[in-house]
Amino acid sequence: MKPDEYFQMLKNEADKLYILAEKARSRGFDPEDNVEIPRAEDLASRVEQLIGFKGIAEIIRDFSKKYDRETVSIMTAKEIAKRLFDDKKKALDVSIRAGLAILTEGILVAPLEGISKIDIKKNSDGTDYLAIYYSGPIRGAGGTGQALSVLIGDVVRQDLGISRFKPSDNLVERYKEEIQIYKNVEHLQYNPSPKEIEITIRNCPVCIDGEGTIDDEVSGFRDLPEVETNRVRGGMCLVVAEGLIQKARKIKGIVDKMKIDGWNFIDDLIKDEKKDEEGKSSEKFIEDIVAGRPVFSHSERKGGFRLRYGRCRTGGLATVSINPATMVLMDNFIAAGTQLKLEFPGKAAGMTACETVEGPIVLLKNGDLVQANTLEEAIKIKDQVEKIYDNGEILIPFGEFLENNYPLRPGSFTIDWWEKIVKSKNLEKPREKDFETLYNFSLKYDVPLHPDYNLFWHDMDMEKIKILRDYLLKNSRISDGKLFIEKNKEIKEILCELGVLHIEREKYIVEKYSKALIRMLGLELQETIIIENKKFPENVTDPVEIVEELSGITILPRAPTRVGARMGRPEKAAERKMKPPVNVLFPIGETSNNRRSITTLINDVNAKINVTMGLRVCPKCGRKTYKLRCEKCGSRTNFTEKEQEIELSIGKLWKEAIENLGEMPGDDFNVKGVKGLISKELLPEPLEKGILRALHNVWVYKDGTSRFDMSNLAITHFRIREIGLNAQKARELGYENDIFGNPVTNEDQICQIMPQDIIISKNGAGYLVNVSRFIDDLLEKFYHMEKFYNIKDERDLIGHLVMGLSPHTSGAVLARIIGFTDLSACFAHPFFHAAKRRNCDGDEDSVMLVLDALINFSRHYLPSSRGSLMDAPLFLSLKVDPREIDKEALNVDILWDYPLEFYIAAMKKQKPSDVSNIMETIKNRLGKENEITGYGFTNDTPDINRSVKESTYKTLKQMDEKTQAQLFLAKKLRAVDETDVANRIVSHHFIPDIMGNMRKYGTQEFRCTKCGRKYRRMPLSGKCQCGANLVLTTSEGNITKYLSLSKKVSDEFKINNYTRQRLLFAEEAIKTMFSNKEENKIIEIKENKNGKTLEDYI
């Protein structure tokens, strides 16, 4: 299928669903009679729909023809301000929000909810100034977006003739204090110095203001006339620290380009920046270590992940790959989709399996040193592993370095690279692959030794090489091509560090590397005896140079760069549930049982509940009700902006709903509602929807939709078989040709995935089948229409449309299901993930059936609190346009192999931009005919599902089990310092947890065991309003849960004295607090004689 036909097909199919949903909605059972998710064709229309100002789309489209995104945002803001010149406040409001919306691709709610207010205030000299009030959701816009919104404000205020902001000294001091408090309470990516804050606030022409977002207040500079609140303004802190100051360099680029006056202070901020430390190793990735999530390699440690350049077909957009054998031998802690925190090039990455990179080298309990390169090989030996000497390769695409602007590092010397060298010398590579042939080839043509026989010589030192050489001369012999070495502990360690695979019997028996080892050490064979061929070089200390000298050929390091890594978030594939999970947004009140179960309430047909609903009134007959339709005349009622406490006959309502559906649920049927509504209109969902959802085990989210969450992973090419398709089905989906242009005839062919096609987890497929059955029942029994999906099993889902939606955004993206994976992940084209403003570094987001969202989503159900628009599908993008998505997706490299010049540049540690002219990325294809076709990848893998499917972190349930497994692995890994890991776990996780919970214990509340109602103080009655018992919210167990584990870890791993003493202090504090257990245990005030009364407690 050609790209145009593909996008048209998607649009047509989506249009059909819209028609169907509109028909259902027109029945009048929902808050609006129309579908509430408008279609957005491009960025311009998304921005227009988000901002709600007619005409913006045309302005954006016109400017987009000529200018880049940042310029378009400024020009659009100016144009809007001009059109609204007579109402300056509105002009500022609309233009700044629109400018920010353009910068955030029109799918974030930050322009709406991150800017709470825009005001024109007075300086002390009587002139006007612009104040932008930021709030928490501005975080989603990112530092650059935040800072640019200030810049846009400045440009527009000048157009409107508004003066600059002139802060008082006190106000500047207030900012310094406030940001410091915010940093202590919340997380700031960048901690600005007081000097940086002063430079920014004194000179920024716009006042960065905000509403109080956290309870903490400033203590020094209170009650200033310029600031309405003494509370800390979180949004302001973010924009100043993470926006203007952290992104000063980027802002300077834009200010310089556009020659905007009044922003020279940015230069002072840049001067203050610390010197660039790019390229140096960093321990940052390991700082926030969490118990149960192992470290796989410390920074630059021998034996750590070996950097290999290339892109697997499941790679790019922060997805990197390792051999599945590595996953298994890391005790299954790494599964596909698991997030790894990396030392470089980016902060984190999602993992996939690739069997064409090298696996780990491990020492088995029987003394054999083996390398596992396939899943099966690893599974076979996983219980016999004594030590992991080398983690194997990690395949990182060039695009990751480009995206993060991280200097290239020398990569592992691979066969691909070797072949490039051979080709560059106009040579034919030898047909035979044995060592002698390859060695002689290298000798003759000055080509480096073939990677098949390369060892970790660079991990040695002169002394070790000499010891090994001397030992082999005296204590080894060759027989049947195998090298037999007398046993020796020191030699064993050297062999293992060098990566010389061998088996251990009465002697060490080396097979593959026997001749290589002899040659590289300057020895040779005389029949079965080993003799010296070359003298050991004097005055050479570099191990590789020594071996080059001894062998007479060039050696390129096998693993010149090791990448530090630890486990981040585990992978996820689970249905979206509210806490606690519910089937329907229908309130059942505080006084009912704590299980939110409607079903248990309706045994008595006269059962009643007290709930708060919105007060609505019928415009025709004036009747008051909480319902959407007037019970008397059937007219649509209007919300009066008031709420009402009412007593509902839930039994009667239930009976009506059941009769309406004609559905009689069985005995084990359980519909769960919410305690109370939190939407502005307090409008409940129809009970019928909850009954049908419960019938199909479907849960509802805050906006009426039912979703499935999965970790994101990038894929550019798929093998037909691996995603559960056959050739015929693939052709039906439009995959008529494979990557080589051959017609698709068998399941082993590889096709390039189309931009909006996705491969979902099988668990997700099962849930979406349930949702489809719910929708079919809903259409038939509730809306009295025909069923639509008629899905029998998961396979029938193929070809159906879903929406993808990420947290913090409000723009859903249309997608088509084309297959399934056994993994807990959603594989999709980088464009699709980027369109949701996501990369694949362990992020997860949701999919939902399009028809479910179109019928059941309503803004009227969304909570009235700030930030509620986030993660709600306010519109649907039908087509993904690579020009309108995050540029990260454009930095994905699409070469079939990397050129020799690239490897040379990497050896020289050049910047990625220096070689971007020879490394084709998607960006190079924009505007060309092959913009979305004909991509390449460097590394194939037989099947994307050949991987660990679930991380040990998830399979182990208890924290002590996880921690023990983590430390057990740390002991096995050569690249990991287990004492350091133990130290970090205790000092960064356990001690803060113990101390935090102790603090909480002192300020805790009381909770009802039945209805969950919370009390700040114990009521005089000693019991809850509902009559049930009250318990403390933080128990002794909460505080002490990690204590014994911490002590055990501290003893076993000899953690440092400082941490050990902190732990002792914590233990002492706990002992003091719970010295009399009987008195201080969970306080249960019971009425029966065994319990205590409040008086007893006092």
Partner: protein
């Protein structure tokens, strides 16, 4: 105002040679007034993808550019970027959005 006439001539040559530009403006007919804050007004008409000066007063011009001679010369000498100059209000344009984009072409 020699620089202005040179600019018009340059634009006309470009419009003849650049097929894409010619297509864009082929069907446009616009009355353009350029007010030099320190050097009087000049009137032009864009028609058939060419710009002609007219000596008569313009009634209801479609595009009115207000600019100083200094800024104008700086833009022509590439000392100042036309877009930056517009964003920083070094000159103003009264026109529809598409006509503003047209002016940026003219001043290139």
């Amino acid at each position: 105002m020699k620089e202005l006439y040179d600019l018009v001539e340059k634009f006309n040559i470009r419009a003849k040679q650049d097929e894409k530009l010619r297509k864009e403006i082929q069907d446009l007919e616009r009355k353009i007034q350029i007010n030099f804050r320190d050097n009087g007004s000049y009137n032009f008409i864009l028609k058939n993808a060419q710009v002609f000066e007219i000596k008569d007063n313009l009634q209801n011009p479609d595009i009115v550019v207000s600019i100083s001679t200094d800024v104008f010369n700086k833009i022509l000498n590439k000392e100042m970027d036309v877009l930056s100059a517009y964003i920083t209000r070094k000159f103003t344009v009264k026109a529809s959005l598409s006509d503003k984009l047209l002016i940026s072409e003219l001043l290139k």
